[in-house]
Symmetry: C2
Subunit: 330 residues, 2 copies
Amino acid sequence: MAVYTEVSDEALTAFLSAYEIGTLLSYKGIAEGVENTNFFLHTTAGSYILTLYEKRVREGDLPFFLNLMEHLAARDLACPQPIRNRDGAALGRLCGRPAVIVSFLDGVSVKRPGLHHCGELGRALAGLHAAGADFGMVRENSLSVEAWRPLFAVAEAQADTVAPGLGGRTRADLAVLEAGWPRGLPGGVIHADLFTDNVFFIGDRLSGLIDFYFACTDAFAYDLAICLNAWCFDADGTYHRDKGQALIAGYQAVRALEPAEVAALPILCRGAALRFMLTRLVDWLNVPPGALVQPKDPLEYDRRLVFHRDAGRAEDYGWVAESLARASPP
Amino acid sequence: MAVYTEVSDEALTAFLSAYEIGTLLSYKGIAEGVENTNFFLHTTAGSYILTLYEKRVREGDLPFFLNLMEHLAARDLACPQPIRNRDGAALGRLCGRPAVIVSFLDGVSVKRPGLHHCGELGRALAGLHAAGADFGMVRENSLSVEAWRPLFAVAEAQADTVAPGLGGRTRADLAVLEAGWPRGLPGGVIHADLFTDNVFFIGDRLSGLIDFYFACTDAFAYDLAICLNAWCFDADGTYHRDKGQALIAGYQAVRALEPAEVAALPILCRGAALRFMLTRLVDWLNVPPGALVQPKDPLEYDRRLVFHRDAGRAEDYGWVAESLARASPP
């Protein structure tokens, strides 16, 4: 949520001269995106977002993200569309950083989603999975189950200083998840970070998805599990099954879950919670001096894990038998 | 340059329901304004800036600033225009803070102004002074000569830790300025903070002035002196007389300086430099832990003061006899 790199009017004007998007009228650094620097651009041709990629994004991954956004936008999924310059390149360089201009999407993030928002999200998520089906690139999920133990190793010694018993709980979770992690589920492109900040609404209508910088190739149902974690819990760890039901029903209105996905939902949800607890824990313990960004609380996900350890069935998350799901309000 | 106050979609939607500016399409926290939190708003009716005033702005001063912007905008000066809600109020409350919506101004701040920019600024500054002539409110300049000694008292003991000899130089400057500060010069509303960030250009044309939160009632020539400091020096303290000449000539193309103002220009410039050195010095020595904003370097103004101490005549700043000024390129 910060501008890490200042961009002068001269540098920006020179950069824009390679694009056919009119004359610069205005640009403002915006407090959005934890990992990158973003500017709102207004030109005589319209509104755009200019992103400068800071250290945490691997430059080699950018073609995957940019091609994916282009692929999805071409299939009418409402997401930022990379703008190519006169040479046909979407990826440029500005102030020493990889830089990209994408189309500006209207919409507002909902801090406290209701049932209707969850239903809309479910439909959009399934639409994203469908639209990505013929995308030709692959990017492994570098934050899946194999990554969790090495991540935890970085934080393990200090885990109990963050919450008593956190180290022990995490070791036990890791053992269960590594032993039981499902393989061979239907998969393809997933967003992998569809938190409320990354989903826009205009009024009641879902108007777009943003921030594809964790997108990767993995199980579709894992993406659903990430969303159930991000959208259906209170910060205190209370799960709202009615929200989960709306989200899953919305998803199934577009793409039916296979029995193996339904069966795997509880462990996928538990794994997704551990993944966010771990990355937050590492960030929490490694705030650099002078940090511009407040780290997110890992204990929000520690509290979600309490629910996941008890929840053994997809029904606990709001999944209902097909006939009922089809009958639920759209 | 930070978002100090988070505003949820629910809080913003409730706030906007009192205004007739259409439906919210988008809002982004923007990294602009050292003292306040600013959001870019896009609605079905257009683009706006929403400002939440943080602690450093005195709430009692807000009617002066808001009425002034309204007064100037009504006289076709390009500046943000406060939007009144259905009850006719420009000043509202949001997230516990005084909050105002103003019209969005296109334009780009020029980091390294050239001669042409300085000329445009001079004309706009004189236009501002003329447009404010019939403004009915008064706000004393709380950062003029009387304020400098108390400001210095806060920093005096530590001044030499910032630069060797800074304390002694400042004491000598204060004595000279307090003894010789000019009184009775033509005056009225001044902007008092017209740094390059607060002046917008589209291409070569000055498109607007923003950030009236230091505006007050004081000598017009002091406003010009502030601009000469902010626009005509390099960071190393080198004065560009050609820029000063363009700025002064631009000003005089709209409003001729009186002889007393010309004579006072050197001391006004020296005073303006000391004012910014002092406020920066105090901020420099008092960065709160966890500050979101990098303090500005007071020594930039300490270096400008070296020039000012030697410069005794308006000519040193680029003022030229009337006939020459009139002949200079517009």
